[in-house]
Symmetry: C2
Subunit: 355 residues, 2 copies
DNA sequence: CTGAAAGCGCTTACAG
DNA sequence: CTGAAAGCGCTTACAG
């Protein structure tokens, strides 16, 4: 089907509104365009009476600001950017971003800011995307998620002079504010919980160690074992995908002395691990305890329901958005430390069986 | 941490580039601004030699078009919009959008188009969002997903004169091209598969019937039973959430004569159903067969792996984006019918047990 | 407190 | 084929 060159309705709409600009507001109010602009933007230098009159005229005429014209004048886009570089599989099975974005939007929308989203296949494209976002003036600032070791985006964004906020603290120096949810306590709590139940052979299915949060969860795991006085545990590194989580679980469970508990770096892998345990005839939690990370919706509804660490991506999104707006407004913003994610104990963990 | 007023790097960058506009290109090439614009946009009316010279000068000077200036002149934004109105839980557990968006981006990026994303809590906000997207000139066209019965967006967008493409065919008249993946064959195939296995008491955990795809899957289910010569099956309506899928399953399985197979309207609910079956001690597939819809990544890795219907959201995204671009380019675009989703048989379906 | 003007960086008739 | 000018709709010094 086609769009008729002129839909009756839209034509009607358009002809009723011969574009009311500040020019016509000015004429109608008997002042200059400049004054109208001052009045509309609440800037000083307009007498109260004049201001009121101008505002009234603008309202009567149904004046709407032209974002495009304003953008050209102010050299700003009034939009923020999010570039996601994840392999589609991992992205699809991880509910982090939908929730994070919902949080971001809840702050941006009331401020009249839009979110420009890019999903790119690799890091090279990612950097290129930031460059073109800036070159085109598409955004005034960006969210930096999935922080990597020695992340190339930090210096790039600094060089481009683009305001940014990072999710978590980068490993190197950064001129940008960081909004952080500490991974460590949740992982520590998971291990402590398992240790308390009596587990001594605890393994970790880690995420990618090029990702800072993957790395930190892994370090927290190691530290927690030490703290609990347990022997070093096995760690299998993955790319955070469910496929990799499944494979890693198989490897761990088909050894001579398999672990009695596995700490997964995210929920999708834990759920895949649960499936693999079932497939191998290993009963959870009787013969194997499992913990996840994130507390995605599924956790409550798989069987047994998953013990996991509850992050709050929506809150994170809100906080990151507020911080970025503040940074752009005032030129500076403080780091924010959000409450650490906390352990939620459900049915997938129990004392180890006899042996 | 703050952004220093002038980062050394960014300052350096900026001072080296005193903004090369078509004005300076024109001066350098010894022609008028207008001619430069014509040459740059490959419009006729420029002699070959002049064109080449202008292009060369532009290149030497490192001229980059100003999207903002162009937008103001052409009254276009060179961006497309996607407004998602879903409750956060459902959004988060359904990998449709990440994949769909990845497909969309793969088409938009090379065309220099950006995607503006809005996630809104309800339908009222949704309509308001479309209005303000248009009022602000943020987008030149939009994707309409999650089509509803008698969808208010169709007339609104027509009235606003905003080009759009719908995912699936609306139930009423629409001036917009539709890119469709037919739900029916996949659901029919699921039921046929179960009937062939010998099931006679098949139930359906349907999605919301205010959503067209929820409704159509449900109708397909009913039609398929009839076609297979089976008695009418039970249908439980849900909101597509995992929580609702879990509840519905409990209701179905705790009856006197529970169904021996359940067809779910999406995978997340099917996975929740699998969990509930386990919880109730109902073995899958021995005592209960289960099918899903979408073929999300998890399906392969739960136990038993889920028989489901494989859609291709990424392809859908690509096709929708191409169609929308074509529509905006030429003023019209044909409907597209993508290959219907097909059944993927895995371990969650088997012949019904004795009784 | 107010006005007249230039500027943001393009595109597009209109003349020649 | 080419030039000079107006226009897109704002903002922002600069004078008064």
């Amino acid at each position: 089907m086609n769009i008729p060159a002129n839909l009756p309705a839209s034509t009607a709409m358009k002809s009723t509104s011969p574009k009311v600009t500040i020019e016509v507001v000015a004429r109608q109010a008997g002042v200059s365009k400049g004054l109208v602009s001052f009045a509309l933007n609440n800037r000083p230098g307009v007498s109260p009476e004049t201001r009121v009159r101008i505002l009234q005229v603008a309202k009567d005429l149904g004046w709407k600001p032209s974002l495009r014209a304003r953008s050209l004048s102010t050299q700003r886009s009034y939009a923020l950017g999010l570039v996601i570089a994840r392999n589609p599989d991992v992205l699809a099975s991880d509910p982090f971003f939908p929730s994070f974005i919902a949080g971001v939007e809840s702050i941006l929308a009331p401020e009249g800011r839009a979110l420009v989203l890019s999903v790119v296949p690799d890091e090279e494209t990612e950097l290129r995307t930031y460059r073109s976002l800036v070159a085109d003036g598409r955004v005034d600032g960006v969210f930096v998620t999935d922080l990597r070791l020695n992340d190339a985006r930090i210096p790039l964004l600094a060089e481009l002079g683009l305001p940014a906020v990072t999710l978590g603290r980068p490993d190197g120096p950064s001129p940008f504010p960081a909004v952080t949810v500490d991974d460590t306590p949740g992982v520590m709590a998971s291990v402590a919980h398992l240790a308390t139940l009596g587990h001594r052979r605890i393994a970790h299915v880690a995420g990618s160690s090029t990702l800072l949060h993957g790395l930190r969860r892994r370090e927290a795991f190691t530290a927690a074992l030490r703290e609990a006085g347990l022997p070093e545990g096995q760690t299998v590194e993955t790319d955070f995908s469910v496929a990799a989580g499944s494979d890693a679980t198989r490897r761990l469970l088909t050894q001579d002395r398999p672990p009695t508990a596995i700490v997964y770096a995210n929920d999708p892998m834990a759920i895949a691990g649960l499936g693999m345990a079932h497939e191998l005839g290993v009963r959870v939690p009787d013969e194997l305890s499992i913990t996840g990370y994130d507390d995605i919706d599924f956790c409550r509804y798989v069987y047994p329901p998953l013990t996991t660490v509850s992050a709050a991506p929506m809150v994170w999104g809100r906080s990151a958005a507020s911080t970025l707006l503040a940074l752009m407004e005032s030129g500076s913003a403080d780091d924010v430390d959000l409450p650490a994610a906390r352990l939620v104990v459900r049915g997938s963990t129990a004392p180890p069986s006899g042996k």
